[in-house]
């Protein structure tokens, strides 16, 4: 059975602003699920509805098979790490962690023991008597984690918990969170707009856009098997290059054709593309799937605009038919003497329907 299930979940603000539009989602016990999307896509609202901080307009939320729509947050067995950490400034670290336990009327010894345990796990033992204002951002973050762990929740909710940390700390906290999840095994929902965070943490990623779910899948599925143009565009850095082409048929062989090139399409796609012959579609090439080639094998030339060195590799920004194309290469270091580059496809590409923006194959 699923640990958490959202059925037809809808949120409407002020009678006419549709924030969440009929979402269905099932989460397995112990899973680390990341809600990913641009700001305003509804990911935080979804999480807040699961937490009980936001009323549900329509639809149902089940936790372990039990309808929780009308339960208070405290009756749902959830724990949360907030974006601002929300460490209460007037309580010491100890009291912050112990507060929830005191409310549960736990014995003093038990509280002490629990606080010590989670403080040790989060590496904040020596700060227990300090006030939040005396802690750095990273330390406050750990307190928030410890406080969330202390109540031994069935479900962890994390609302962009790393977004206020500096880049380096973010990466190390990421590892810590993942480790913590492995140890505790609690089901976790993590909201973020940072795709690399999502990729590295998630068992499964839910990509949201304007209140709906675009795709659910493992990080690899999301990247290598993007179902929509939005996902292909949003995931990956640099993002997918989209090229408008027309499907044409010559001697029972399909080609993608535009003013710059004519690319033969693998026969295995013939069935799926059957209805698209002589129609416009969109080709999506991941940057690493467009590679430098010799002049003989090339598919097309790009006009190089600039080269962004990244150390291990470079991102080459070029133009094809006045549209920007980005490719990744470890051969080109800078743009000395380079005006144009011959490019070919390595045979991996997405084909999207131009109207629905859904993947054809």
């Amino acid at each position: 059975m699923e640990f958490l299930e959202l059925k037809n979940l809808t949120k409407i603000y002020q009678k006419d602003i549709l924030a969440i539009d009929k979402i269905d989602l099932k989460i397995k016990d112990g899973e680390f699920l990341v809600l990913l999307g641009p700001s305003g896509c509804g990911k935080t609202t979804t999480m807040r509805m699961i937490a009980g901080l936001e009323d549900v307009t329509e639809g149902e939320i089940f936790i372990e098979g039990k309808l929780v729509n009308n339960l208070q947050p405290r009756e749902r067995g959830v724990s949360m790490i907030f974006q601002s950490y929300a460490i209460w400034p007037h309580m010491t670290v100890f009291n912050n962690i112990a507060y929830a336990l005191k409310i549960k009327k736990m014995s003093k010894e038990k509280i002490n023991e629990t606080v010590k345990k989670v403080a040790k796990m989060s590496n904040i033992e020596e700060y227990l008597n300090r006030y939040p204002s005396q802690l750095s951002g990273g330390q406050q973050q750990r307190v928030a984690v410890a406080r969330a762990m202390a109540v031994d929740p069935k479900l962890f909710l994390m609302d962009e918990p790393l977004s206020n940390l500096d880049a380096k700390l973010r990466v190390s906290m990421r590892t810590d969170l993942k480790e913590m999840h492995k140890r505790s095994g609690a089901t976790t929902i993590f909201v973020t707009h940072d795709q690399s965070e999502a990729m590295s943490l998630a068992d499964r990623i839910v990509i949201m856009n304007t209140g709906t779910i675009e795709q659910i899948g493992t990080p690899n599925e999301i990247y290598h098997d993007s179902k929509t143009m939005f996902v292909a565009d949003f995931i990956g850095s640099p993002s997918t290059n989209f090229v408008d082409v027309k499907i044409i048929s010559k001697d029972n062989k399909l080609f993608a054709k535009n003013d710059a090139f004519e690319l033969p399409i693998d026969d295995k796609f013939n069935d799926k593309l059957h209805g698209y012959i002589d129609k416009d579609v969109v080709f999506g090439f991941r940057p690493e799937n467009l590679v430098l080639s010799s002049d003989e094998e090339k598919l097309f030339d790009i006009d190089v605009v600039l080269v962004e060195p990244q150390g291990s590799h470079s991102v080459i920004v070029g133009r094809l038919l006045s549209k920007q194309i980005k490719i990744v290469s470890d051969e080109v270091r800078d743009m000395k003497n380079i005006k144009t580059l011959p490019i070919k496809s390595n045979g991996i590409y997405f084909i999207f329907d131009k109207e629905t923006e859904k993947r054809i194959c």
Binding site: P73, F82, A86, W88, Y99, I103, V151
Partner: protein, 290 residues
């Protein structure tokens, strides 16, 4: 040179205000202290202090002022805090409700007196309302209230008038509070009441202290509604005595000195009360920290 200028710039901006206070506050205050501690001929004497303390109305005035401050501040803080909590929520019509809640603030003391006099007079609208609603048969003679009843009366009228100004400070504090503090409380199992008691109030403490002290100072100096409702002498207050000497009997030889002596007494009492309040709060804070 540049550095020196920079160092003095903040003081330069403060100077006009400070000068103003020296001229128009410190000078009259010192004058008041001087007058209260001298005889008519200017020689040192505590005669007027003993005159004030032995005046027949003094004990009643002191008792009324302190009681008034104590009860009204507690009552006003509680209600204003509830109002602020309510108005901090966004709901349909909340903006309009806020305006309505602020209306009493716009009513000057002179108008407040008329407003309630039209209500509490024998044929006023309060009796009229009560009779129409069949709650009473005969008009109640409100204005004949005496002693503690009259004091309670004034406390209620004062509360009506000043609630918005207390509420406004608390509301600003609440609006600036990070909403996630409250939500964290909800998540970690606190009830609504526990959230207010354990989270909102302690975090809001500086704002609360500000609001309470400002109110305390004003409450201990209450006098006008008493005079407007009941006239001089019926429900005496400390500052009411000052007004009595300047408004009612300004021609008496001792009036000038009596009123200034009273003002020194009031200031001293207010100061002590504020200090006690601050001390009690500091102490509590220490206990919490341990």
């Amino acid at each position: 040179m540049k550095n020196k200028y920079k160092k003095w710039f903040p003081y330069f901006l403060l100077t006009p205000a400070l000068l103003y206070y020296v001229l128009f506050w410190i000078r009259p205050v010192l004058r008041a202290f001087f007058e209260s501690m001298t005889d008519y001929d200017g020689s040192f004497s505590l005669m007027f202090f003993s005159k004030v303390i032995n005046e027949s109305m003094f004990t009643a005035a002191l008792r009324n002022s302190l009681l008034f401050a104590l009860i009204s501040v507690m009552l006003q803080f509680t209600v204003a805090f509830m109002m602020a909590l309510l108005l901090n929520k966004k709901f349909k019509g909340s903006n309009l409700l806020l305006f309505v809640a602020l209306i009493p603030m716009a009513v000057p003391p002179a108008a407040v007196a008329i407003l309630w006099k039209t209500g509490f007079s024998t044929f006023g609208w309060i009796n009229n309302l009560l009779i129409t609603l069949n709650l009473i048969k005969e008009p109640i003679l409100w204005m004949t209230a005496k002693g503690y009843n009259a004091l309670l009366f004034l406390i209620l009228i004062d509360t009506w008038t000043v609630l918005p100004s207390v509420m406004i400070i608390l509301l600003a504090g609440l609006q600036n509070l990070n909403k996630e503090y409250e939500e964290a409380g909800l998540i970690f199992g606190a009830s609504r009441f526990q959230i207010i008691k354990d989270i909102i109030m302690p975090i809001l403490k500086p704002t609360i202290i500000t609001a309470v002290i400002l109110r305390m100072i004003a409450a201990m100096q209450v006098w006008m509604i008493s005079v407007m409702m009941f006239g001089y002498g019926r429900v005496p207050f400390l500052v009411e005595r000052i007004a009595y000497y300047t408004d009612m009997v300004p021609m008496l030889k001792e009036s000038y000195k009596m009123s200034l002596t009273y003002s020194v007494v009031v200031t001293t009492i207010v100061m002590i009360s504020v200090m006690i309040y601050l001390r009690v709060n500091k102490k509590k804070e220490k206990e919490v920290r341990i």
